[in-house]
């Protein structure tokens, strides 16, 4: 029993040291001690949302003549496509709003490299499968097609025929083939499959142009008829560029082309002074909690405070590692789980007190109190986990970022709080009882 306790203590100390290590740096780097080579490196800079930190504001405008009619519905579709694209690129907690009749305002927290995101946002994402006949055209060439009934073409240029466009795509993914070439694979819907089968049967041996926003990505030769409605776009892709293309194709093409009018950095939406004050207030509140716990529960109270501090260090390290973008809803979720971490301690202490009053020795009271308290700690936290899992799933499926941010930190916090309740509080309390051998129950336990 005793040896078991000490091995647990070692586990706690090691985890705490790791957590503090991650908490106190911005980049975790492990290097080979013999030649100084970096084996492993990870950026763990804390990510704060737009409400807490501020970020990049981008203003996009429909790139069409002033006179052309743009419906509110088109702008709304464009808004949700851009939101999906940026979410899929891993820019969490962004906000895209329709502004006026032909503008979108996008806000991206803590984004430093504006260019990486702008190209993906701006691309219309119009994919065309074009009949090149028997001429091969180099990737990168800009071509003119008859898509959308276009008949205008510059002197000396060829007007190519568009067989179908990206609207016929059913699913899109990134693949890597045997010779390690990255490509974008796709499945077509029924209509697309028929068109594709028809074309490849009648044009075997010719070149099929795959064109994105009028620029040729690749022009493979049709070797055999493709009837199963499935294919891969190969080209000069890196994993990132293949992923970006897949994202564009997956969420459809923009109903209106957009251009960037302006980008600028903006401050936190909650206001710097307000955040500063709230941080101080939070510290004061925590101090009050610490004082109350120590006075009311005495020795166990101090154990609880230690356990909550360890919980905080672990949680922050994990948030930095994943990384989780912290916004106010996220912090609310975290605070709620902190509450349940405290609750687990209080539940245990109350049950322990009951057992001590009924005459058990301290060690036995701890064991029995834990057994009794465990069912309520387990069930209440499992219910919270179920709730947050459902909220997270809905939040990420339907783009409700508030719900998503809240449920993610809540779920992570609850899991960590269960760990601290099961391992940290119990171990420390058992060790304290062995080390200090408290006899005066009034002084040590407030009974």
């Amino acid at each position: 029993m005793k040896r078991n306790l000490y091995s647990r203590l070692i586990l706690i100390v090691v985890l705490l040291a790791l957590a503090i290590g991650v908490d106190s740096v911005n980049i975790v780097r492990v290097s080979n001690p013999f030649n100084g080579e970096t084996i492993f490196s990870r950026d763990v800079t804390p990510r704060l949302g737009l409400d807490l930190r501020g970020g990049l504001q981008v203003i996009l405008e429909a790139d069409l003549p002033e006179t052309s009619e743009i419906t509110a519905e088109q702008m709304d579709v464009a808004r949700s496509i851009i939101e999906n694209r940026t979410n899929a690129l891993g820019v969490a907690e962004n906000s895209i709003q329709v502004a006026g009749e032909r503008r979108l305002v996008g806000e991206f927290p803590g984004l430093e490299d504006a260019d990486s995101i702008l190209s993906t946002i701006q691309q219309t994402g119009l994919l065309e499968f074009v009949d090149f006949g028997s001429t091969f055209i180099n990737p990168g060439t800009v071509v003119t097609t008859d898509y959308g009934g276009n008949t205008e073409v510059a002197e000396g240029e060829v007007l190519y025929h568009t067989i179908m466009n990206g609207a016929e795509l059913l699913t899109v993914g990134v693949t890597t083939d045997q010779i390690n070439q990255t490509g974008v694979s796709f499945d077509l819907n029924d209509e697309g499959r028929a068109i594709f089968a028809d074309y490849t049967t009648n044009h075997t041996g010719e070149f099929l142009g795959i064109v994105l926003d009028k620029q040729v990505i690749s022009a493979p030769r049709v070797k055999d008829p493709i009837t199963e409605g499935r294919g891969t776009i190969s080209g000069n892709f890196t994993i990132e560029s293949a992923n970006a293309l897949a994202v564009q194709l997956r969420y459809g093409s923009l109903p209106v082309p957009l251009k960037v009018v302006d980008t600028r950095y903006i401050g936190a939406t909650l206001g710097e002074d307000s955040l500063q004050k709230s941080l101080i207030a939070g510290v004061v509140g925590m101090l009050a909690v610490i004082i109350f716990m120590s006075l009311f529960y005495r020795m166990p109270g101090i154990v609880a405070v230690l356990s909550i501090l360890i919980y905080g260090a672990l949680a922050f390290a994990i948030f930095k590692w994943i990384p989780v973008t912290l916004t106010l809803p996220g912090i609310a979720g975290f605070l709620l789980s902190t509450g349940s971490a405290l609750d687990a301690n209080i539940l245990l202490f109350e049950r322990m007190k009951e057992e001590i009053r009924s005459g058990l020795t301290l060690g036995n009271a701890l064991d029995k109190g834990w057994t009794r308290a465990w069912s309520s700690i387990r069930d209440s936290n499992v219910a919270t986990l179920i709730t947050s899992a459902i909220l997270f799933w809905f939040g990420s499926t339907f783009g409700a970022t508030i719900v998503k941010g809240f449920s993610l930190t809540l779920a992570l916090g609850v899991v960590i709080s269960l760990f601290t309740a099961i391992v940290v509080t119990r171990t420390l309390l058992a060790l304290f009882i062995i080390w200090f051998k408290p006899t005066n129950l009034k002084r040590w336990f407030g009974i």
Binding site: Q97, G267, L342, R372, L391, F394
Partner: protein, 308 residues
């Protein structure tokens, strides 16, 4: 301490708080006049440069409010301009605001742009969040039924937990309605966050109290159900008070009193909601269990005297 015996008193107390707020809200909803913030309705965005240096954001908020424009949010940009987001501002109002800004803070103010912006939380998001909460509630009922299967009528515990959770949601809405009348609060994205927090906490707290009933009903089989529930509540009372009042509410009170103005409304709503979450475990969820056990709707909600 006999808490369950006074159950109708507590039901009446809750209704007294919930009903006025909900009636007012329903009335606003019919008139399509709910106090929703720019997060839900959209508003205007004005970007200006003060030639003689930017004034304090708080002063601008006050000036806007004097001109009856609400929901003001002031952000600085890296280009030295101020971005003022607020409720809808038309051209006349803009001129009024600009002349007031110039008069108040001195020097010319140039407008870089003024445009209306759509809501940052679409109506779809709100309805989807509501569906998510509904599905989560259903899952919780199933979970409680399974985990309480060892005792009689396990299903009732899940239903009672959800009824009490709805009670807490109603209290939060009622508080928001009263807050709107008294302080001019509006429902924004933070309100949605507070609501989610209250829902999560409420269910968790119910299970802790129900767990004691579960444990006791296996040990004290002979006891009359009403006495058993009352006994269980009293046993968990110390824990409820300590977890809730002494810790969570400490923190929120500190934030509400000393924290930033932009978070005050959020903290107070959360304070009320979490308080209600603890209250409803003891005074709503558990008493409804007893009411159900005794089928008091058959006696027109008159208490049957406990048979001794």
């Amino acid at each position: 301490m006999n808490i369950i015996g006074k159950r109708y008193l507590f039901f009446a107390l809750s209704l007294l708080i919930i009903l006025p707020g909900l009636v007012i809200l329903a009335n606003w909803a019919i008139q399509d006049n709910l106090p929703l913030s720019v997060d839900f309705t959209g508003g205007s965005q004005l970007e200006v440069v003060f030639e003689n240096g930017n004034p304090q954001p708080a002063d601008i908020v006050r000036l806007y409010n004097d001109l009856d424009v609400g929901d003001v949010l002031v952000q600085t940009t890296d280009k030295g301009s101020l971005l003022i987001k607020s409720g809808f501002v038309d051209n006349d109002k803009r001129d009024e605001i600009l002349s007031a800004l110039e008069a108040e803070f001195g020097g010319p103010v140039s407008v870089l742009r003024l445009e209306s912006v759509g809501p940052s939380i679409g109506s779809q998001v709100t309805s989807r969040a509501a569906i998510a909460v509904g599905v989560a509630a259903l899952a919780v009922v199933i979970f409680i039924t399974v985990t309480f299967r060892g005792i009689q009528h396990a299903f009732r515990y899940g239903i009672c937990a959800i009824i009490a959770m709805l009670h807490d949601v109603a209290i939060v809405f009622s508080a928001a309605a009263i807050g709107h009348i008294v302080f001019g609060w509006e429902m924004d994205s933070l309100f949605l966050t507070a609501l989610l927090t209250v829902i999560g906490f409420s269910v968790q707290d119910k299970i802790v109290v129900f767990d004691r009933i579960r444990e006791n009903s296996l040990i004290l089989r002979r006891l009359d159900f009403e006495t058993l529930v009352n006994h269980s509540i009293v046993q968990t009372l110390q824990r409820s008070i300590n977890t809730q009042l002494m810790t969570v509410e400490f923190l929120l009170l500190a934030l509400a009193l000393m924290g930033g103005v932009t978070l005050r409304e959020f903290c107070i709503i959360l304070f009320v909601g979490l308080l209600s979450g603890t209250y409803s475990s003891i005074f709503i969820a558990a008493p409804i269990l007893v009411l159900w056990e005794k089928k008091e709707w058959k006696t027109w909600f008159r208490r049957k005297e406990a048979a001794i």
